[in-house]
């Protein structure tokens, strides 16, 4: 299996608190890898280090591109990291609230734009051509998730489940190779979660994606993950396949606590 991302002893310290300690993760192409753990374990912090929002206080993040070249992306700006093929969604949904559904997604095409601002403003032919192609791709994406009819609606007016879906679609529009999903099923009912499960499998297939996701919905995690990492208080307490994790004593303790009388 070809590696796409690995972290080496990736550590994040805030003042005296170590939020993430020497995290070693390997993700291979086309895998769906899950990162689970109790609240406050450092999962989103790990995401933030991989996507450049935080610079790790120690350690490195290595990304392997489509040609097999390894690049050290530690501390790179989030916009640069998006450009090389890593996209993400956010735990608390960060859509462009006041903009339309359509605008939210087509903005994600901007990073691939080769025309400069003058060509864009003057709507030069080469810009128009780029835009037309982007618009086609956006239309296809929106139709696939059933959001095309609401494309003029404000993103904030969408029901919660659709907002989450929109955020994923927006990330997809950047044409990533690796997609980081931060609690994509948060706040969803069982039916929505099932739809999401199907959806994630679908997009992995169709867009040749690798998915790295933080989740608390265990059915979703166990259903689609190829491998799982478990974090607690910033430390990796387990890693392996879904069976291994389900039967791992430490994981059960971390989630359910230690039975005092046992």
């Amino acid at each position: 299996m070809k590696n796409i991302l690995k972290t080496k002893a990736m550590t994040m310290q805030f003042g005296g608190v170590t939020a993430v300690n020497a995290l070693e993760i390997e993700i291979n192409e086309h895998e769906i890898v899950a990162l689970i753990g109790p609240n406050g374990a450092g999962k989103t912090t790990a995401f933030n280090m991989i996507t450049g929002v935080y610079t790790p206080t120690n350690g490195a993040v290595i990304y392997t591109d489509a040609e097999g070249q390894e690049c050290n992306i530690t501390g790179m700006k989030p916009s640069e990291i998006a450009k090389i093929g890593i996209a993400r969604t956010f735990q608390n949904i960060r859509l462009f609230k006041d903009l339309s559904v359509y605008e939210n997604v087509i903005i994600a095409k901007h990073l691939h734009l080769k025309s400069d601002f003058m060509s864009a403003t003057l709507h030069m032919p080469w810009y128009n051509k780029e835009q037309a192609k982007a618009e086609e791709e956006v239309e296809e994406l929106l139709k696939k998730v059933d959001l095309w009819d609401m494309r003029e609606e404000k993103a904030s007016s969408l029901p919660y489940g659709k907002q989450r879906r929109l955020e994923i679609v927006r990330a997809l529009a950047t044409e990533p190779r690796l997609l980081l999903l931060d609690e994509p099923a948060a706040g969803m009912n069982p039916k929505e979660t099932d739809e999401l499960t199907v959806f994630i499998k679908q997009i992995r297939q169709e867009y040749n994606l690798t998915v790295f996701m933080i989740e608390h919905h265990m059915e979703l995690v166990m259903e689609i993950s190829d491998r799982i990492y478990v974090l607690d208080f910033g430390e990796t307490i387990a890693k392996g396949s879904t069976e291994e994790i389900q039967n791992n004593k430490r994981v059960i303790e971390a989630y359910l606590g230690v039975d005092e009388d046992a």
Binding site: N48, V53, Y54, F90
Partner: protein, 306 residues
Amino acid sequence: MEFFQGFLNMSGASFAQHMVNGVSLGSLYALIAIGYTMVYGILLMINFAHGDIVMMACYFAYFGITIFHVPWYFTFIGVIVATALLGAIIERMAYRPLRDAPKNSVLISAIGASFLLENLANYLFSGRPMSFPDIPLFSQNIAIGSIKIQAISMVIPVVTIISLLVLLHIVNHTKTGMAMRAVSKDYEIARVMGINIDNVISMTFIIGSALAAIGAIMWGIRYPGITPYLGVMPGLKCFIAAVIGGIGNIKGAVLGGFILGLGEILIVAFFPDLSGYRDAFAFIVLIIILFYRPTGILGERTTEKV
């Protein structure tokens, strides 16, 4: 070489003179900067109107002494009370209604409040420069050795120190002060813990404005020309002083005030050719600080949670 003439030829007496001026100016900046830093520490907003409160305090003093002939010791107390009240009113009318609005709105409101105060002063008192009442006790010159300084220049640091000690006592040793510190550390938790946020915020504005009034009075004695726009430059500079020292930190505001006050006086003293750029000094220091240590000298490094 001419440029450095001032620097090389300065005599000890001149230097001492400039130091006194610098300390005076620094004290005044410090008193005003505290108002900015306290408000920012709690509300995370720049009270653009703070500089104009200083201006209004000067006009209050003018009316008290020159128009109504109230003795200066009563007037000054009245000025402090009136200014503190004005600060609280501005908070109530211009900032409180926007507490849940997007950040830009409260910023625009602050600008509007500042603009309104300036235009009000212009309308009520006309734009003609007026003269801050002369109080011989303070404006008389005292000779120390070979230097002559105004009495007020000696009063300023003393009053400032006393004010600061009172302030620090309030902040560190009273319930009100503790509430203020709690709110500035964590707004939401303080509210949940039962602290009356509205009262704490009003108190912050009252204290900040009172200090500004003290500064304004001494400013007026030292620099007697009053115009509706007298608070603009000092206001900007004092905010910068607060940023330099570490916004939200009272000691930082004092430190920043002195750095700017002394710096401004000494730069012009040593390099008289630069005197036209005197006001630019503060902004240049601001840029340097924001580049190299954005949280200020005494500020804490914080990272935003995503």
